[in-house]
Symmetry: C2
Subunit: 427 residues, 2 copies
């Protein structure tokens, strides 16, 4: 039985397999707190209830000792989990000692060096459970809405969004690059299957050391045929609010442990506010953070804009010059594109980027040339505009940044099991 399910086993005999978090002794009674990955529970060992061997062995239960414990589950209103276990037997499976991570302050470098053990801590395990729930909820929503999961390639012959931040490898006799986005492939798949998504790792070899950057991060990228910018934004807000709702419903204790009130997150419901880039500039001007029209926002600008809203806010219709070659210009105003970024509240910055793609062959070809991209690498991508081109849109949602916001974390590095950062490739 897993600890998270003990609430259903009050009055029953149970067997728990887990690891010792702490041992407290008080005369003929010992309190052992145990975790098993699903949660933690206090167990009570009384000298009079167990064999002398078990009593003696239990004296040395060091932190992270692996045990199999048997006893009776009892309701206890004072316990955080609502239950305690009166032990009959404890069996040591794997001993422990001098466990490096102690209940005290450790520097983050030390913790990251010991990431394989740090993951066992209550906070880190809670983050991992929320991550898993969030990802599964996104997939469930997309599946239910008729999106086909399509695994786009990681090894690619050319760059999707510029060449300066690419990891390169030798693919037999050729050069290959690690994917920064599955979008271009998704566009082909959307014309084959209607609605698709990829969900996998992406790579940016950026020499930046901010709290919002990882070298390797995970992204979900839906792409929809016959869909314009408005349809795209509705998909974003529905998918995201559904997935957040699932986390609220299924992981309320983990949220509370991490300092996020589930009720607060439950307010994240559609529609999200929508403002144009021009309106965003107005907000910045009012706050003394004026930037020239045409420039992209930095982190302080995003924070200043999102401060005005309780919900995530869409900023749409960015200057064409600031965005990628494939973005479709607004027919009514070609100096802006039919794109949008979603900015998380509380200064967490951009968590979604997306919009409508160019569906006109000639315009796409012109853009490729304007961006000095080699046409032969994009011949297949141009083909999508040659045979039954349709209005289509899509977006990418960054898992780690979204989790950092949801879980009020200072840095994205805690949202992924083994973070890859500028000076961190181990363990």
């Amino acid at each position: 039985m897993r600890i998270a399910e003990l609430g259903l086993a009050v009055g029953q005999s149970v067997e728990i397999r887990g690891w010792v978090l702490s041992l407290r002794k008080s005369g003929g009674i010992r309190f052992v707190v145990v975790r098993d990955g699903s949660g933690q529970v206090q167990m009570v060992l009384r000298e009079k209830d167990v064999s002398p061997e078990v009593w003696e062995a239990s004296a040395g239960l060091a932190q992270e000792t692996a045990i199999i414990a048997r006893g009776r589950c009892r309701a206890d209103a004072r316990a955080p989990s609502g239950v305690e276990i009166d032990l009959d037997d404890v069996q040591v499976v794997g001993p422990s000692g001098d466990y490096p991570i102690q209940p005290k302050e450790h520097g983050v470098d030390f913790l990251l060096d010991h990431r394989h053990l740090w993951l066992r801590s209550q906070r880190q395990a809670a983050i991992m459970r929320v991550r898993s729930r969030f990802e599964q909820a996104i997939r469930n929503w997309l599946d239910h809405e008729g999106f086909i999961a399509a695994d786009t390639p990681i090894l690619t012959p050319s760059a999707c969004e510029g060449t300066t931040t690419l990891f390169e490898t030798t693919y037999f006799e050729q050069k290959a690059y690690l994917s920064q986005s599955g979008q271009l492939y998704n566009e082909a798949l959307a014309q084959a299957l209607g609605k698709v998504y990829c969900f996998g790792p992406a790579f940016r070899a950026e020499r930046s050391k901010t709290r919002r950057h990882l070298i390797e991060f995970w992204m979900v990228e839906p792409e929809m045929a016959f869909t314009d910018l408005d349809g795209c934004l509705e998909t974003v807000e529905q998918m995201l609010s559904y997935a957040i709702g699932q986390v609220v419903e299924r992981c309320p204790d983990d949220l509370r442990l991490l300092g996020r009130d589930p009720e607060e997150l439950a307010q994240v419901r559609p529609p999200f506010p929508r403002i144009s880039y021009d309106e965003a500039l107005g907000i910045l001007r009012e706050q003394g953070l004026e930037i020239p029209w045409g420039e992209d926002f930095g982190a302080p600008h995003e924070a200043a804009i999102s401060e005005r809203f309780k919900l995530p806010v869409f900023v749409h219709r960015y200057p064409t010059s600031a965005k990628a070659f494939y973005m479709k210009p607004d027919p009514e105003r070609p100096e802006v594109v039919l794109s949008a970024d979603l900015l998380a509240p509380e200064g967490y910055g951009e968590i979604v980027g997306g919009g409508q793609r160019i569906d006109d062959y000639d315009l796409l070809l012109r853009r490729l040339h304007e961006h000095d991209l080699p046409q032969e690498d994009y011949d297949w991508y141009l083909d999508l505009r040659r045979y039954g081109s349709v209005p289509h849109s899509g977006f990418g949602l960054g898992i780690e940044r979204t989790l950092a916001w949801m879980l009020k974390l200072e840095h994205v590095r805690e949202t992924i099991p083994f973070p890859r950062m500028l000076y961190r490739l181990r363990p």
Copy 2:
């Protein structure tokens, strides 16, 4: 409305957005077959029912023209989908012409060069739908059983299973390699979270050109603390048969289209037969394919063994010398390890490899040295045996090989959207 849902719309006005597969003219009546990614349907256009403009425009509906079609949905027992649509209006969204893939035989190189368009064909789209359903079903099963999805890193500082088939890249000032398996990281995560899985791309730079190899492939890798080999095999057979059952239930038409009788797949239920390596050698001997004890099987051996069984068959307890350093020796017979491969029926070969891992620190250290692996790269992995080590097991299931078997495909290359093979990195 999507074509797959038309069965619920008989007698109603519908709007379909899709692409023309074929146009057949017969006097004052035209038959247009349209696909939209969810399925295909025949539409009937009568000169007397539509405007002269629509009638004229419909004469030129070339293959892959994108259209929006409106009409009334009518039950038709002769139609494969059970319905037809009597059209009121057809609007061309994106024209097409000289579509490269014609209803005739094309060489596979031509089709792979045009993979971005080939995916639109009926068979390829069916394969993609089944892949999506299969992957989602695996995730649903694992989620329901309490496994935490954990995304293990792709960029790694060292090799998991030998160094000869690694893709290398420069990670700022260091060397990094593309992951061949998330297993070692999963083992750390299983001690933190109990039951975990990763599900992502894996890379093998193998110079092999067989029908069972891809350079980039997807793998699901569950890992469980407090679990022995038997528990591991039960997880394999339950997960796999559940996911196959979901494909049978949700994609019967796609299966039939691909030449696989859904009834036949529905027979894949636990328990799967289990034979030892020694018993497998006996089968080979009977068939004149004798190999010396200690050698691994090749494709012909796997085919000969699986021929004896209707279900996938586990071959367990391989020679220690033939398997990876982390496999746990059988305490009763240390020359074999507590591992198992699952061989698919019909000669499709190994689709799962897994087993119990070494949980003893000293033995693992000795194995690392025997395999000439640098201890400092595995210090963190050794730590897992230092602090609360437990019996633990896991496995990896290859998505593409399993799909090739399920869908009776000649080659794994059709099971993934954009296959990466020895001489194929494009598109």
